[in-house]
Amino acid sequence: MIEIEVERLDGIPVARPRGDIDAANASTVREQLAACLDVDTDKLVVDLGETRYVDSAGIDMLFRLGERLRQRRATLLLVIPGDSQLQRLATIVALPSALPVCETVAQALGGCVRESGA
């Protein structure tokens, strides 16, 4: 029900959901995102630049996905534009405490050093 655009930049899969992530689609989105990660990569970038709302089910999904990737010795990197409403939400739910959150895709590809573990 939600389109997720996937491209590879520097060999790293970058997934861009087009639309909101909520209770209606969170589990589908998680499966689709998890499927983007293949054996030869240890990073998955999820760009939320085209996403307006992520509800608690969506946030929950991102935490779980991060955990799942960690178990596979891979890292989930989130891209949330700095001046966005979503950025405020990320802070409210302490998303950066569990996952690296970057402001741009370029930062994420570079390892997201600055924001990581804030």
């Binding site: 909101d20 909520d22 509800d55 608690s56 409210i92």
Partner: protein
């Protein structure tokens, strides 16, 4: 051979047979009274009491009565298939194999073919001396035949014939009786056909057009559909409107080249395909490309024009893409109008390499968007610009009136129904100001959340609520609604209510369900509650006997009142 090139010895055209007509009215025993009674019986072969039967059953019943009345052994009705120029056996008595074997007689050949081609009664006194196309007649041992044309409004639509196993000289009275029966049959067939056609058309129309226009607070939809022609009321034009999983609204208008049932069937296929592409989440220009590829692949030399407009209910932002379709019209709140600018695009089904470009625009509150097909503006011998100009002024005039739906008003100004040369489809969306309160009743299922957020966002924006407050209130309400969905008791068709009020620098939202609020134990639900608390000023959960109400309030920091 079965080929019947000429009238055989035993075959005569009834009109030339003065002797038969003059040979006295029927068998010696029959007086004028009896003849009258037979005529009366024959007039009743298609009595209204047969009206409840299907056409097949009715024809079969009629043939039985005809056979009795004419004391014949067989009675057969063949109907003309005009496209293929053949007569097809539709009902038979005493010669049921004709129907079972699907006997077809080419026009102007064989006995029945000759009756139809000449549009006159034909008699075969002795089949042994005549050539017939249909071997069944001979196999069955039929000796004599009488056939008359079945006519509707002077046009031959079939042939009715009776036969006897013994040799018989059919006389004028027999012809008269069979002709009466044939008239009755013609009437019944014609009625049944038009009833059948109406039913098919109605079913197709119901399937092809949206059952109902969406009910979305703050938007008013109207639509008009008028196919060209008077007999088959369906055509290749279509419109569609539906809410996407993202909460955005999809508006589609299109026009398959051609008319009637054939164009309608292509339309039905591509309308459904486009809906599927869009519902799957394909971006507009991509959905249009996929539709183009589909139509090319269908390979039926069919082309179509179409326009898709996606409306973000919250922001009023429009995205549109066109495949050779006329530009949509926007009538602003002040009455001025303009056409939506979008690259024209190649019509669908022409080139596999066609590319479609999306253009963005805005539909402010108070404005109206109109999508239409070319039948609305095109007149024979007139440049399209003149038609577009006429549409613009009609739409402005209609915007000022209030007596009927917008689509109806524009339509009445532009179209003289008696002169419709092409299909017309018209879809209008008016963006209405929302009042200081908003009431929604929603199905208790997660799919409604996106639509709730966009409607609520739209209402908050129209109330002048600032961007970040809009985000907070909308997301918090969505959380409360997700709880209502999750906790709605398992009754089917459960609904929940969302009511919102804006007063004195604050917004109050109540989400009321009929389920039990469960303790916020699990990870996700706990987060939902903390998100609501972080985003809103107050969050109250009222647990009642018959359900739970979550009341959220937020004071507005900025100037909105």
């Amino acid at each position: 051979m079965d080929v019947d090139a000429d009238l055989g010895q035993g075959q005569r055209e009834a009109v030339e047979d003065g002797s038969a007509a003059g040979a006295g009215l029927g068998p010696p025993a029959s007086g004028a009274e009896q003849a009258e009674r037979r005529l009366e019986h024959m007039r009743e072969v298609a009595a209204p009491s047969l009206g409840y039967l299907s056409l097949e059953q009715m024809l079969s019943e009629m043939l039985e009565r005809i056979r009795d009345e004419l004391r014949a052994d067989t009675a057969v009705l063949l109907l003309l298939d005009e496209d293929r120029g053949v007569l097809v056996a539709r009902a038979a008595r005493g010669l049921e194999e004709e129907v079972r074997q699907g006997v077809q007689v080419p026009l102007a050949r064989g006995f029945a073919g000759r009756v139809a081609a000449k549009a006159q009664p034909v008699i075969i006194d002795d089949l042994n001396h005549a050539d017939v196309v249909n071997p069944l007649l001979r196999q069955k041992g039929i000796r004599s035949l009488l056939g008359v044309p079945v006519r509707v409004e002077g046009r031959v639509i079939g042939v009715l014939h009776v036969g006897t196993l013994h040799q018989r000289r059919f006389v004028q009275e027999d012809i008269a009786l069979l002709e009466i029966a044939s008239d009755r049959a013609a009437l019944a067939i014609d009625n049944a056909r038009s009833v059948e056609q109406r039913a098919v058309t109605e079913i197709m129309q119901r399937t092809l057009l949206p059952e109902a226009l969406p009910q979305i607070p703050g938007l008013r939809f109207s639509a008009k559909y008028l196919p060209a022609g008077t007999t088959v009321r369906i055509g290749g034009d279509w419109y569609d409107v539906f809410q996407l999983p993202s909460g955005r609204l999809s508006l589609v208008i299109g026009d398959v080249v051609g008319r009637g049932v054939l164009a309608a069937s292509v339309m039905a296929e591509i309308r459904t395909a486009l809906r599927a592409y869009l519902m799957e989440g394909h971006e507009l220009s991509q959905a249009m490309s996929l539709l183009n590829e589909l139509l090319v692949a269908m390979g039926r030399n069919r082309s179509a024009t179409a326009a898709i407009i996606e409306l973000d209910l919250e922001s009023g932002e429009l995205a549109s893409v066109s495949a050779g379709h006329l530009p949509a019209l926007v009538i602003e709140a002040d009455g001025s109008s303009r056409f939506l600018e979008v690259p024209p695009g190649v019509p669908l089904g022409i080139s596999l390499h066609a590319r479609y470009e999306r253009r963005r625009d805005q539909l402010p509150v108070g404005a109206t968007l109109r999508l239409y097909s070319d039948g609305l503006v095109e007149r024979r011998g007139e440049a399209i610009d003149e038609g577009l100009a006429r549409l613009g002024s009609a739409a402005q005039a209609a915007a000022a009136a209030e007596d009927a739906s917008f689509a109806d008003r524009v339509y009445r100004r532009l179209v003289d129904e008696t002169s419709v040369e092409d299909d017309i489809a018209l879809l209008a969306v008016e963006s209405l100001p929302l009042g200081p309160s908003l009431q929604l009743t929603l199905d208790a299922q997660p799919g409604v959340l996106a639509g709730l957020r966009s409607t609520l966002g739209r209402w908050l924006a129209s109330e002048g609520v600032a961007e970040n407050e809009l985000f907070d209130i909308t997301l918090a309400t969505s959380e409360a609604a997700a709880n209502a969905v999750e906790h709605a008791y398992r009754a089917e068709q459960a609904t929940f209510l969302v009511s919102c009020e804006h007063e004195a620098h604050s917004v109050r939202v109540a989400v009321r369900d009929r389920g039990r609020w469960r303790d916020a134990r699990s990870y996700g639900r706990g987060r939902g509650l903390s998100i609501m608390r972080a985003l809103m000023d107050t969050v109250e959960i009222e647990r009642g006997e018959d359900g739970t109400t979550v009341v959220l309030t937020k004071r507005l920091a900025t100037g909105a009142a």
